[in-house]
Structures are given as C-alpha cells and as structure tokens.
C-alpha cells in the first residue's frame, strides 16, 4: 500500500514538473507570438510610409483624369512649376477635379471640400489585387532562331512573340485587371495623407483593420458603419492597430537629369549648347518630384 503511494507521488511529481515546464513554454511562445505580431505591424506600417510618400509624389502629376473629357489630364505639381501657384492644376490652369467631380480647391487659397484641397485628407486602405491593371506575366518569352538558311534574315532573327507578355489574353482584361483582393490582404494596412500646406503633408501609416478612418465620425460621414459592426468594434480595432505619423515636404526638383548637359562622351567640358542628348535622355529618371524632407512626429498630431 505504502509502495503504491510512493510511486504515485513520484509519477505525480514528474508530471507536475513536465506540466509546469510545458505551461511556461507555451506562455513564452504566446508572448513571442504577440511581440512578433507587434513587430509585423510596425513593418507593415512602415511599408505604408513608402506607399504614402509615393502617393504624394505621383498625385503631384497624375491620377486626376477627368472621365468627362477625352484628354488624360495631368498636373504640374503641388506647387505649380509654371508659375509657383497652388496645384495640382491641369494644362489649362484649372484645379484638378476631386473624386466627386467638383473642382478640388480654390486657386487663391487652396481651400476646398475634398482632397487635394489644403486641410483635406486622402484615405487609402490598401490591399493586394489579384491582378492589377496592366499586369505583365512573369517569365521570359523565348524566341528561338529559325534554323532554316533558306529563310530571309528578317524571318530568322524575327521575334514574333514580344517579350514581356501580358498576364491575360485580351486588351480589356489587361487594362481592367482583377481588383478583387488576395485573401488575407484586405483590412490589413492603410495610409492617409493630410495636405497640411501647399507642399507639406502629414502621412499617417497604419497596420490594422480601421481602413484608415481616424474616428467614428468619419465612418459615419462615409456611411461605412456596416464595415465595422458598430462603434465599439471600431474603437477596439483602433486600439489594436499600429499608427505612425510623419510630416514631409514635396519639391518639383528632380535629380539625375542635369549633369550630362555638361559632359560629352570623353567627359570633357562641354558647351551647354550641345548637350549630350543620349545620356541626358537616359537619365530622365522620374517626373513626379522629390520628397524634400521627412519628419517622424513624436506625438499624434491634432489633425491627420
């Protein structure tokens, strides 16, 4: 009887030790997983900073096409490079149109009811599309040379299959893409851009499921209550997400295009009257301006 009791105690003790170690291990693994989730959110939010800065640069020039006109409207910068006025304005000098089709801002004050007016916000929830517009296929297209000497050279070295190839067969599909989100990528990250001044912006980057709404009042103004299942659920999502705030300034100046005006192929001094067109052309690297400076905001700004 006493022997059986001893064995029971030993077995129970060993089991307790193993159980304690297991619980400790699980607790640590859980802690690691939570910390990793926080780290992942930070990385995700920083990826959104890149997206936000690109958005600032690109919307200085493009993305303002007015579907009511046959032209593909382009703009000339947040500070218009033609006269220093408030942009973005189209070739005819008028403000670009906001998403609702109205003129986006007043030419003198820059104020208006919607982005890109000064003081207004562009909210950009992000997702990975199944196939973005104009998607090209991965992989190289082989154009094997024909081994038939009777053919003319134009046939032997012809490349009948262009490389790269579009991802889809028809032009309509190619242009439209497939905007459906890849599973698991919707409601994960967002950024929003507040135009604080003519060329100064607050870019807020988020990793979470609020889709970039700053508060419930914005959700209501957008009639998007159903997306969150109520205010409490939205507030919980807000508490759980990571947000980073940056201020940045845009400039129309672009580097990398000018030096070659001074040089010829031998790198001797060259008169600007005979610029090295070949090199200069090849160095026209981008046309959407430059982010002049970036400032991480130490605290949440009053408006973002």
């Amino acid at each position: 009887m006493s022997r059986s009791g001893t064995i029971l105690i030993i077995v129970a003790g060993l089991s307790a030790v193993l159980a304690a170690m297991t619980v400790a291990l699980l607790a640590r693994v859980r802690g690691d997983a939570e910390e990793s989730r926080g780290w992942l959110a930070e990385v995700q939010a920083r990826a959104m900073l890149t997206a936000g800065l690109e958005y600032v640069c690109e919307t200085a020039r493009i993305g303002w096409d007015d579907p009511a006109t046959p032209a593909a409207e382009e703009a000339f910068g947040w500070i218009d490079v033609r006269d220093g006025g408030i942009g973005p304005r189209t070739a005819n000098g008028r403000p670009v149109r906001a998403r609702d089709g109205t003129a986006a801002f007043d030419l003198v004050t820059g104020l208006g009811d919607a982005f890109p007016a000064i003081g207004r916000v562009a909210r950009c929830p992000m997702r990975v599309q199944r196939r973005p517009p104009w998607a090209m296929a991965n992989g190289m297209v082989v154009n094997a040379m024909t081994r038939d000497p009777s053919l003319p050279w134009s046939a032997i070295i012809a490349h009948p299959r262009p490389d790269p190839q579009p991802e889809v067969a028809t032009w309509a599909e190619f242009a439209a893409g497939d905007p459906q989100p890849v599973a698991g990528t919707d409601g994960v990250a967002w950024f929003r851009v507040l135009r604080e001044d003519v060329a100064t912006f607050v870019v807020t980057c988020g990793a979470g499921a609020t889709r970039g709404y700053a508060g419930w009042n914005e959700v209501q103004a957008d009639s998007a209550e159903a997306s969150f299942g109520g205010r409490d659920a939205f507030e919980e999502l807000r508490r759980d997400e990571s947000r980073l705030h940056f201020r940045c300034a845009w400039s129309a100046a672009v580097g990398g295009n000018s030096s070659m005006h001074y040089l010829d192929h031998a790198y001797h001094l060259n008169a600007i009257s005979s610029p090295d067109a070949a090199h200069t052309g090849g160095r026209s690297v981008q046309m959407v301006g430059t982010i002049r400076w970036i400032q991480r905001l130490m605290a949440e700004p009053d408006r973002w």
């Binding site: 690691d32 100046a253 672009v254 580097g255 000018s258 001074y262 130490m298």
Partner: protein
C-alpha cells in the same frame, strides 16, 4: 502473511525500476534541454525585435547622433556640423539671417533657374579663358540680382555652416554643385587636386582621371564617393573634420569609400547584462553617396556560448536631417507643435 520476494524477483524489480527511473529522468532532461534551447532562442528573438525597434526609433529621431535631452551628447552642434542651430541671437557670428537664404524655393522661382553654374571651369582648363562666354554674368556669388546669387550663396553657406551631407539634402534635388565666385571663377574647392579627400574639397574626381572637374549633380558628384554624418571617434581625430570630407574609392587611407561603413553611430543596450546572455549590438549609418541617401541600421545578436550570430540589416524611409532639425527645440529638448526648432531664424 505475504510471501517474501525471492532474490531473482528483487533483482528484476530493481532492474525494471532503474530502467523506469532512467527513462523518466531522460524524458525530464530532454524536455528541460528543449525548453532551455527554446528559451534561449526566444531570448535571441526578443533581443532581435527589441534591437530592431530601437534601431528604427533611432533612425526616426537621430538620437544617437544628437540627443536633444542631453547637452553632453550633442557633438554635431558645433559650427560646421549638421546639427548647428541656425536660430541664433542677433550678433552671433554663426547667425544665418541673410534674407536671400530661404530654404524653400519652388522650381518656378527665378532663384532655382538654371544659371550655367561652373560651366566653364578654371580648374583643369585653368587659364584657357572663357571660350564659351562669361557665365558668371549669368549668376555668381555677389550678383546684384538676388535670384542670380541665391544658389551660389546657399551652397557656399550650407557647406560652411552644416557640411557636405547637409548641402546635398537641403539644396533642391536638381542642383548642379558649383558656382562662380566674386572674381568670376569657380572657387578652389572645385578644382582638381592631388588629394581625393582633401578637406573642404567639394569636387570629387571622376573615375577616369582626377583632371576632370566638371560641375555635377549629386548623382555624379558622389559617384563612388560618399559624404557622411558621423560621431565615430575614428573619424573625429584632430584635423579630420568629417563633415567636410569625402570618402572616396580612390583614397588609400581611412577615407576610402568602404571606410564609410565605419562611420557608425553605436547604441549599446543592456550594458550590465550577464556575460552568458546573448549580446545585442546596434549600429546606424547615414551617408549621401553613390547617387543617393542612405539610412541604414544593423542589429546583431551574438550568443556567447555558441558564437552563433544573427544579423538584421534595415533600410527604410525615415526622418531626414532636415526633419531631425525640425524635431529639436531651438533651446533644448524636443520641439512640440508651434515651438521654435533648430532651423527657425533661417
């Protein structure tokens, strides 16, 4: 009364009991070792995450270069260094109050127009005259038209006050780095020299010859060369003046281009950790070179018991030098919204 065990029974029982005890001990020991390994890996991972957070925080704030809360850790606020305050009182010789020197010139502004800066050099082709005309008439450092002297004065004064790295960041991205001095010639710092990394030589020879002194944008001016922001003691020896010096692919001493990797700002977390714990090291590196700006952080965890080394290399969009200057209060500490910063007064 129960029958006593025979000797054989006892031996078998002892053997089986020993086996069972050994098996149980092995199981506990294996579990314990597994947990030890997992715990150690977990510590490594936590250190790596903590290090990455600290590195990103420092990239965002430049605190290891200039700690606004500790005047003893502000080595880059001296004259000629990138954190020199510009908001200085009247009468201070470092005060930058020339009305021509506003930083934010838009590209339609005449100050930003092309002026043929340095188009005829008097360096390599010294004395060869002005066969393409006198471009100094178009713009020079003392030109009576403010728009025609702006770029020259900005370049000269930013280099003088804040150094090379600041020059490349603060000037418009399309700036051609050169100017005409009051005598109508390109100043000496753009001339070809024998020393690739001479102090105050903004000019960097290009690959094929040091006898090339064409004016250039950052992309070509920094070809295989770099200008850094650094607090590293190696590059702060007497006479070094690293804020006014290039690292160059053609130098043979510590100013060789790969030396820029040593221009790190080091964070040493957990200085009191036990010697057996994994060690965490963070270094940050900022430089303008090879045609672009670099903000790099390396986070390394080394296990002293196994010598295992895990490194995380981070590059990200983050606070620029001008942004960092705007984060700092003119007098001390961090600037809140609306408070004066290091740049107010320019």
């Amino acid at each position: 009364m129960r029958r006593a065990h025979t000797l054989i029974e006892l031996l078998i029982a002892l053997a089986l009991g020993t086996l069972l005890a050994a098996a149980a001990w092995s199981a506990v020991r294996a579990a314990s070792q597994a947990i030890t390994v997992v715990t150690r890996l977990s510590i490594q991972n936590r250190l790596l995450r903590a290090g990455a957070h600290a590195a990103l925080d420092d990239l965002d704030t430049w605190s290891s270069y200039d700690d606004p809360t500790d005047a003893a850790r502000q080595p880059l606020r001296a004259p000629g260094e990138p954190f020199q305050p510009m908001a200085l009182p009247d009468g201070d010789p470092r005060r930058w109050d020339d009305l021509d020197l506003a930083l934010d010139a838009d590209q339609s502004d005449a100050r930003c127009w092309y002026r043929g800066a340095g188009v005829i050099s008097n360096g390599w082709s010294a004395g060869s005259g002005r066969e393409y005309g006198d471009y100094a008439l178009h713009g020079r450092i003392d030109h009576p038209d403010a728009a025609r002297r702006w770029s020259a004065r900005m370049q000269r004064d930013i280099v003088d006050r804040l150094g090379f790295y600041a020059l490349f960041e603060l000037m418009p991205a399309n700036t051609v780095f050169s100017w005409f001095d009051a005598d109508g010639f390109v100043p000496a710092q753009f001339h070809a020299t024998d020393g690739y990394t001479e102090r105050d030589r903004l000019y960097q020879p290009f690959v094929w010859s040091e006898a090339r002194d064409e004016p250039r944008e950052l992309a070509l001016l920094s070809c295989l060369s770099a200008a850094s922001v650094t607090t590293a003691a190696t590059f702060r020896q007497p006479g070094d003046d690293p804020s006014h010096r290039w690292f160059s692919n053609w130098a043979t001493d510590k100013w060789r281009l790969d030396g820029v990797r040593g221009c790190v700002s080091v964070i040493t977390p957990m200085p009191l950790r036990p010697a057996t714990w994994p060690a965490l090291a963070i270094d940050l590196n900022r430089w303008a070179g090879c045609g672009r700006f670099w903000a790099i952080a390396n986070v390394t965890v080394v296990d002293p018991t196994t010598a295992e080394r895990i490194s995380l290399h981070l590059r990200t969009h983050t606070t620029t030098l001008l942004g960092a200057r705007r984060q700092r209060h003119r007098d001390a500490g961090w600037a809140r919204a609306g408070q004066p910063t290091l740049d107010d007064g320019t």
